[in-house]
Symmetry: C2
Subunit: 511 residues, 2 copies
Amino acid sequence: MISIAAHKHDASANTLRLRRLGIDFGDEFAIFMRRDCHICRAEGFSARTRVEVTYSGRSLLATLVRVTSDLLADEEASLSAPARPHLGPSAGALVSVAHADPVESLSHVRAKIYGRSLDKSSVHEIIADIAAGRYSEVALSAFITAVAERALNQDEVFYLTEAMVSVGSRLDWGQGPIADKHSVGGLPGNRTTPIVVPIIAACGVRIPKTSSRAITSPAGTADTMEVLAPVDLSVADMRRVVEAEGGCIVWGGAVDLSPADDVLVRVERQLDLDSEGQLVASVLSKKIAAGSTHIVIDLPVGPTAKIRSAAMAKHLADVLELVAERAGLTLRVVESDGRQPVGRGVGPALEARDVLAVLQNDPQAPLSLRQRALSLAGPLLELVGIVGRGEGLARAEEVLRSGQAWKKFQAICASQGGMRAPPIADIRHAIVAQRRGVVANIDNRLLARIAKLAGAPSAKAAGIDVHVELGDRIEKSQPLYTIHAETRGELAYALEFLARQGDIFAVEEGP
Amino acid sequence: MISIAAHKHDASANTLRLRRLGIDFGDEFAIFMRRDCHICRAEGFSARTRVEVTYSGRSLLATLVRVTSDLLADEEASLSAPARPHLGPSAGALVSVAHADPVESLSHVRAKIYGRSLDKSSVHEIIADIAAGRYSEVALSAFITAVAERALNQDEVFYLTEAMVSVGSRLDWGQGPIADKHSVGGLPGNRTTPIVVPIIAACGVRIPKTSSRAITSPAGTADTMEVLAPVDLSVADMRRVVEAEGGCIVWGGAVDLSPADDVLVRVERQLDLDSEGQLVASVLSKKIAAGSTHIVIDLPVGPTAKIRSAAMAKHLADVLELVAERAGLTLRVVESDGRQPVGRGVGPALEARDVLAVLQNDPQAPLSLRQRALSLAGPLLELVGIVGRGEGLARAEEVLRSGQAWKKFQAICASQGGMRAPPIADIRHAIVAQRRGVVANIDNRLLARIAKLAGAPSAKAAGIDVHVELGDRIEKSQPLYTIHAETRGELAYALEFLARQGDIFAVEEGP
């Protein structure tokens, strides 16, 4: 028999007192501890060890960052900001730190890497661990890589969708259809949501829309909408707006609809990896969590859009429709032209200006934005059964033309906290054509990059105003687009980049 | 025409003064900057952005860690320790920081993830970027995942081997065969190198052996050898020892033989992913870089060893032999019994004790270690042509039995800086059998874990002394193994883990 009582290790000795250190480690959970503290020495922790941090019965996994100077005292530790709300301690609280047990669901990730399919429970275990912050960045990257492109079969995509919904909160709007729309990203200025929502709501259909802020683009729908009205609404305020007006356009970040997806998208972006299965699960899980039942998905197709070919669009549409059906959603996919920006403005205020022009039936309003919004609102009205098949577009057009949509939009803005006018940038710099000819190609990605360098989205008025479209005949020295910036320094960044990159608009000799 | 001269951005404004902050961020290159410093604001850097840091014409990519407190002053930044030697600035130097261009070779990694094969130039570009520290942890993880298990074809493994050699330094020993050996890891106590090297060197064959320290095991060969003699030799000192004695056993870490491999192995370990192609390229690139020409590879096979089945061993041996041949190496693979520890000791000093017993022909010396060392030395003598096929084992045995190997070992130790005696731990705790029967199974992984919790390898005397072997008949209360520790706390850790895990030796009723 082995008697270990005499050696029993005293777990309470493994505590450190928390204090703020003021280091922003990004989204990863991290704990800072002195390299020579009693726990690091006793446990033999090395740099970037994954450790289990426990406070008052709750625990989380964190990456260890060792401090080798006097930034921390001997009995002190510091938690990274994202870890604090998960654990709940206040400054000065005592936390205990120990070796972390291996994350069991990583064995499922390894199995997938070795070519096996994932069953339902494996997918749910993986997503639960990811949502709980138990995956390191390295482990997240391995999962993203293992499911990249078309590595997931339809079952796996469905399980992933379910699992993502199950780890977040879910909105319930009671009986009746709940409309929603989503555009698969990558197209500058594609700001149809603030037009589609009031059209649908004006027809008496509920459309409680949550949108995202920009992560790598010059503006997300929430950034653009924020120029016109507050978007940081609580779930309770969102309900109040929807009950009053039938629709809203709020920032989804406050609502915690798909926390695992937020984590995965962050790492996916770093890798710039396309993953069809992950994309489908991401889109559909957010819609299900938002309580939506009838959804139109916009797939812009073009060489510099996210969806680069008709074949890609077709395959993606099939998977979206099949998984949506299995999840009990009514969904229609609309393919659209993704070869050039939509509307004229790129950046929060410039896009908001275009949105207002369309809603107000301004004769100068960009036709491309108007048409695209109608091409999504129409099928959505058909999908929820408000009009018959083939009658949606006419109804949407009527609601827009008559001013009902504009009236509804103003009411939504008022209900969200009050409408406001978009700002205009003080600093503007026109880029002109160097030759006459026809606009043959527009690089959406470079255009977005320049708008960002000019300050968008954090500088609301910054961005690009595009003056020409594909196929336009232009003269030498005719302005192609104008860069808007709030500071001279930001304009300089954008111009410097432009000087290195060369032309964003290809002008060819016309017929 | 666009005139940008007036807006030309002044790059010299993008400088910060370096100072030490004392945060150990692990092996990743990182730069700490104030979130509100002029560069972060102007460039729009967010947490964990990859940035380019330039000093005096040299530059590197680093991960941005933002400081939100007064740990740094406004114009200050701090580089992580591993980044400093790559860039070369002293404290107080001015570095400039800018957005990093995308790492181009990541497009090859994406191509591999999407199922395409890598050509020679793609592999070389990837490895060059990895060696230069241009891959983030997330990017490294994606690469490791993309090449996991058997995802690389033979061409790709060969290119990877070549590329890994090309980015590090390479030793040149002039004409004639250079012998080497390697054991594919995972077996506690498998410390054959300090026995094989003096046997080979005593036969007049040069064997300049570089070994590793433990990373996840209770002892690496360099840790064990360090108990007996200094191993931190410079390349010049290593040459002097080899010229004098024909062989050496030094730590490879000081020699920078395969820097890209060191990076990949670190991430691979975090994922616990097996990658056959990566393993082959790792082993062979280090041998080529060390200047070796004739190599014996030991593949221990057993359920708790790295190679779990004969089929895995066969496949791995085939790839090793084919790629070695293409690289111009003479190589033989020896499969061995990986079901139980080799020798008796696990941990630096206990293993060193076993090594000495074998070299000194002590009648109590563990037979398993002696036999295994001979089974590698024999084929190696045949491979270099010192003896005919089938005659190697007898010659190796003769050199060992006659004391020539022991004499050579002492000479090598003296030449490396002086021989010393292994320490013995003060604290020892025997674990006894709870029933009589036959030892049916030994879990190598748990055994290694306990030796580490007891303090190995940093506590040199710590580890496990194993008293029984598979198949031994034992009585109830007979000691199975003894845990050695340098402190009571470490013994307590080991016993606590043991109490949770249950038995490491399975004892079954015998016939």
